[in-house]
Symmetry: C2
Subunit: 410 residues, 2 copies
């Protein structure tokens, strides 16, 4: 399962500052992995509000069901995340494991049942023994610290090749506010592994409804614009916790002008994390940004951009460093959204290669070829209908993807 | 471009009988390939009716636009198909090439403009010189024969590894009727190649509306149930020609009870051809049949089955001979159609591995493992909602696919 670090990984892991109201622990529970931390626990101060976005999969895991139910309360005190077993498609056993974990958390942390959030990532269809987590909770509580961010990000990795985190600061009412986030995965990331998990923490003081609105809007521009293989996990989870320890006046609405800077920084952090997911795509050797303009509306733009980003033929061409824009034309055509064949324009690495529905006669191929040999590929497509726009991120499709996903589970 | 023959190819090419009212020629026009036939011309007797199904791509090629227009007339006298250049995304030049080809066909064969049908398959975005085809037409006409079926099927290949054809016989009103068909491709089949093309010929005497209804219904059960990579071509074309030379009484309606046997044989032939396409999927080493039951309706069943068939994670697992049914659960969940997580059942190679939303305790893994090592993989999934059902065909996703599609165009 050990993979070399993605060539697209950021040069360094960011240093996440302590964040008032959050303490974290990373311990080894022995669920699946040996000799590594695989259980992350975050204790959130009383009054912490929460919002979240969960997988739309109809075969969602038992922990996702719990998060969906507890998000209604809008309050959070404990987040528990294990790696190695997704507790997905595990029937009544999976539900029982979640229930036992909640009970243990209530007992260990003295919180309410609906303040406990759980995620699980790893193998689908294998029962997750509750006692592994339950037995590890007291030790986790005993080792909670304010500066365990790096270990927490590592504890939730499955076959990620690097830990993913980001931090931003801003102010609300002149009071400094911090936003920390970490995540794992990249679609269905590895041999029978599932899950993109992401957690964002802030000391801002926000009503639950505001947290929910902020994270929903942010997800639309970040994680929902990333794809590796188009395979939606049974466990995708993005949660945001606001501890309220920054002593500004409580903010009740996501559209409050006092949050203007916060919204921008949050979106920026989410996009940073989302791009890191694409950079750790299975077998990835190229990071690809697709900027789609000229669509009927923004939703149509995103669908067309995703059709390009998910096309195996586009992704293999890029892996082969081939500026094969005919395949981009194909992917636009199959997206099912309005596009003008005869006004379609395609730019690769800043050089327009097609416009008005045909190749640009005699365009300079040398800079395009040089661009394709790099690690960062930029594709701009205008479909000539209206003003809808979207940007999405993905990676190429390589032999590495086949190696990782075509190997036996054991 | 030379690939070894797919290990999933049928053992022999079928012998297609002559079919009254159809003469074919296969010639070398030099559009792209050297030392091989690349232009197929079929001359159809006066009175031949036609129906067809064309790509829904919004970036459809100029020849597809012509076919769409001429299908309205319901009559056909000439079919011209070239390999090596798709004449797609070629702007006004592409339209001019189609127009020049039509003019040449009218002159050479003495037919009407709206009785000419053209398909092109190959590179996207490269202008197709009309003179290559125009100059070859007289020689094609001079070499028309009734028994050139094999050469015709070969002339339209791009990187297909074997020629694909099928034949059936039946009777209408006690009169023997023949149905011949051939096709090429498998999605977007090769380095910057596009197109699935299929042509069916019969000597039955059918009204154009009946031909159209029969071919639309047949396509839904055959070609629309095949996928290799989910990438819809700009040129997909399925045409059916009925020469009327079998001397039964003309049939005006596709639902006429006299066509009961004909409909069954036609559907069977179309499914035969469609399966051959999946068997020649790029890099394919396993042929996969997915039988989906228990869906809300047949359309939902097809969507869920296609979600499984197009999942890179499912396809790579099968390439790795891994019965990784967790990925099937994932693909059901992401399909966006109703499915009951807690009633979902999965059977692989006849062995039920999951039911009632979890793994079947202690199922016998030995026969499942043996099945996965074979060439023909059968996956049955019941999603526990209602009676909707569909069967689709695909192939695995292997290093071969990456090799074929990640190589440079030249």
């Amino acid at each position: 399962m050990a993979h070399t670090i993605s060539p697209l990984a950021p040069p360094t892991f960011p240093t996440l500052p302590t964040l008032r109201g959050v303490r974290l622990a990373a311990v080894a529970s022995g669920i699946r992995y040996q000799d590594r931390v695989d259980l992350m626990v975050a204790e959130l101060t009383a009054g912490t509000t929460v919002g979240g976005v969960l997988t739309k999969s109809l075969t969602a895991s038992a922990p996702v069901d719990l998060c969906r139910a507890n998000l209604k309360g809008g309050k959070a005190r404990v987040l528990i995340v294990n790696a190695g077993n997704a507790n997905a498609f595990t029937g009544q056993k999976g539900i029982a494991t979640v229930a036992a974990t909640v009970e243990a958390a209530v007992k260990t942390f003295g919180c309410k049942r609906n303040e406990v959030f759980i995620s699980s990532t790893g193998t689908i269809g294998v029962p997750l023994p509750a006692e592994k987590i339950v037995d590890a909770l007291p030790n986790a509580r005993a080792t909670l610290k304010e500066d365990t961010w790096t270990e927490a990000a590592k504890a939730i990795m499955t076959t990620d090749t690097f830990a993913k985190a980001a931090t931003r600061t801003c102010s609300i009412d002149g009071i400094p506010v911090t936003i920390n986030g970490f995540c794992k995965g990249s679609g269905m990331i590895a041999p029978d592994m599932a899950t993109m998990l992401a957690y964002v923490f802030t000391d801002a003081a926000l009503e639950p409804a505001a947290v929910q609105t902020l994270i929903t809007a942010g997800a639309a521009k970040s994680f929902n614009c990333v794809t590796v293989d188009g395979d939606t996990s049974t466990s995708d989870t993005l949660l945001m916790f606001a501890t309220g320890q920054a002593k500004h006046r409580f903010v009740g609405s996501a559209v409050d002008p006092r949050l203007t800077e916060f919204r921008a920084k949050l979106d920026d952090l989410l996009i940073d994390l989302a791009k890191q997911v694409a950079r750790d795509g299975e077998g990835a050797t190229k990071f690809i940004e697709i900027r789609l303009t000229g669509a009927d509306n923004d939703t149509a733009a995103r669908r067309i951009a995703m059709s390009i980003a998910n096309s195996p033929l586009v992704k293999t061409a890029i892996a082969g460093e081939d500026a094969n824009w005919g395949r981009i034309v194909m992917a636009v055509g199959k997206a099912g959204e309005k596009a003008s064949r005869d006004r379609l324009a395609i730019t690769i690495g800043g050089v327009q290669v097609a416009r008005a529905g045909e190749a640009v006669p005699g365009y300079d191929e040398a800079p395009v070829t040089a661009h394709m040999k790099g690690r960062e590929i930029l594709i701009e497509v205008d479909v000539g209908i209206s003003k809808g726009a979207a940007t999405v991120w993905t990676c190429d499709l390589t032999h590495g993807y086949i190696d990782i996903n075509g190997s036996y589970r054991n």
